[in-house]
Symmetry: none
DNA sequence: AATGAATGAGGGTTCATTCAT
DNA sequence: AATGAATGAACCCTCATTCAT
């Protein structure tokens, strides 16, 4: 009995993942998820309290991972590299060394948590993540010491750009090689863009 | 009666804009929109044929504007500048001259059209816009002559980043000055990121 | 003012007639009727108490005419002919002499009253008319003295056949000549069918 | 559960049949049908995809039967008799041999299909059936070789009369014996009427 | 008299959740 | 544990009728 139950539970989790990923929380149907998992609507509720409970189960480890990653709770997640290389090729090499842990954080479930959570109590997830990224970005800029006008706003926008790039890749790329490549490209792009922006401001691009 | 009618119609358009902007087309409720506009559900249908009709009314001029802009149908929309300046400060100055027309295209309603249209016949709007941007981007890169591996994939990602940046600003910024400033920043960032990316690749950042 | 009012009223009556005839009472829309009459929804209610009131106005004279006709209230309606000729050609000639009064009763509005009244208080009109016809038919048969098993049932069916034929003609034929011709054919058919039926029964066609 | 489910489904089919029969498709309410079946609106949709689906389920076998009957697809349906007897008593005897198959086609559900389908995809059913009957009728007349002026119009009217008679019986008669008797009467009446009409015309009843 | 805005009841349909078996 | 029937709230939409101007 126990064994059987785990199989069903696993299938429900997978089906939910697929549906939430494809359609978002609100537009997913419990009936369909149960069907995809090879079980029935009613039985769904033997495994999960409700639709949102399934969502949380799918996503809960990602939240912890994300938290660990961005707050450096665990040694495996070390974000020092972010602060180092400002020269393109070197940066890319540096990234290569971290691609594993990037991939550990930026997963399909991460996507679901951030981009498919409208209608759940995590509907603010995007904001939370953006805040994290923004703070990091501001931290870097402060270290470098450059003055950017309306730093908070700008940092918010950049954080958003960073996140959207990641989400785009997770949504649209399914091969592992492609994902790694695009993440690398994205980060390089992002670094260069940021540096360029800082330079631009330092040379007088005004708020108005 | 004429006057009163226009007021209600206006309020419905505003309420619709607010709801679509906040919740998207599908998750908006006609009842709620009518309520926000200070009228009743039934009366809504004296002003608009149906929910989608309201959406179209809100958005229809934006589509025309976008088309004019990206296809250069009108003299007022001239995109030559995009191809010119590759140096940060000069680029920013160039943009300044175009900020009006950028703002004319990138409006709150543009956001609704592109980001809130799921469930309407415009549900492909994002794809359409992305395709436009991607083609422009590829055009530029071809001119410059650099080889980017997996150009189509990369261009797709960059186009997405460009668009998301714009959408982010429209979603999160309400003051006019802030919007202009962030659009400028975003474009500068984007230019520099692209240049950096191209350089990075030319210096050997491989697909794998 | 009075003049103008009459014109509108007339147009509403015409439009109602057209709509009821085409779509029936229930499926007709007051808005559309008003529109067809060249006026507005609201104004409709200055001329008629409600949708059903319009229906009654359209149809009320037909009811009286029908009553007069079948009960011989007026000299102009004389149904003696029905009882006379049992030989086809003679019958047809006899009918020719009455076609005017038949046409006076079997009008487009008669059709509306009988076939389009569902949803009004005249929804039993068909039954009423059928009852009339049935009684007449039974009267004739009694005179002739033949025994038809289950006379009431049979008479009901025949009455229905008679009525449906009339209604069919009114619905599908618009030229005056065609209508007259078909009415004549229908009545001849009906007479011969009835005679045949009576004969058939007299020769032993049993109830079972 | 299986058993119970079948009961409800059956009740819904019965309630639907009753309502469609009484009120027609358009004027029937799913809410009411569900209520009559002793269940709730929502539950209706556990049994049928939608209102029209219920209609189709009620009616689908009738359509096949009708097609088989009129096209002679199956040996059980043999319409040769229609062409044989022109003498009342013989005709009645001949019909007696076919009353079973007539009853198999002309059912309460046939009535629903033909007379209550407005609003469904079968809204043309009446036309379809009339066309069949008309062609058969014209076929007979051609065989006999008589000339009827305006044959198509007349045949249309007669076909309509034939069909309406059947529909009348199905609508108003509920006992089996009564139905059989009336169908027989109706067909006899119809035969004699047709013969009489042909004779009448041959003797000079003109179009005008 | 005329307008058409406003109302409210009712239509069909979907779906998360509960419940009986 | 498993089934899927049952519920009820919410969805979009239509329309006869009333009301204010």
């Amino acid at each position: 009995m126990q064994i059987k139950k785990e199989i069903i539970r696993e299938k429900l989790l997978e089906a939910g993942e697929r549906e939430f990923f494809e359609r978002g929380f609100t537009n997913s149907s419990v009936r369909k998820i149960a069907g995809l998992a090879g079980t029935t609507l009613g039985n769904f509720y033997n495994y999960f309290k409700n639709k949102e409970d399934l969502f949380k189960e799918i996503v809960k480890e990602e939240i912890i991972k994300f938290d660990d990653f961005f707050n450096g709770h665990k040694d495996e997640f070390n974000t020092d590299w972010m602060k180092v290389e400002m020269e393109p090729v070197a940066f890319c090499r540096a990234i290569d060394g971290y691609s594993d842990q990037l991939r550990a954080v930026f997963t399909r479930k991460f996507y679901i948590w951030v981009a498919c959570s409208e209608g759940t109590e995590y509907s603010n997830s995007r904001k939370v993540v953006l805040e994290f990224i923004k703070e990091h970005f501001i931290g870097h800029v402060m270290e470098v010491g450059t003055k950017i006008p309306a730093l908070d706003n700008t940092a918010g926008m950049l954080a958003n750009g960073f996140l959207d790039g990641i989400l785009y890749i997770l949504k649209n790329q399914s091969e592992e090689a492609g994902i790694n490549y695009l993440i690398k490209s994205h980060m390089l792009f992002f670094l260069m863009g940021s540096i360029g922006l800082i330079e631009g401001y330092s040379e007088g691009v005004a708020y108005d």
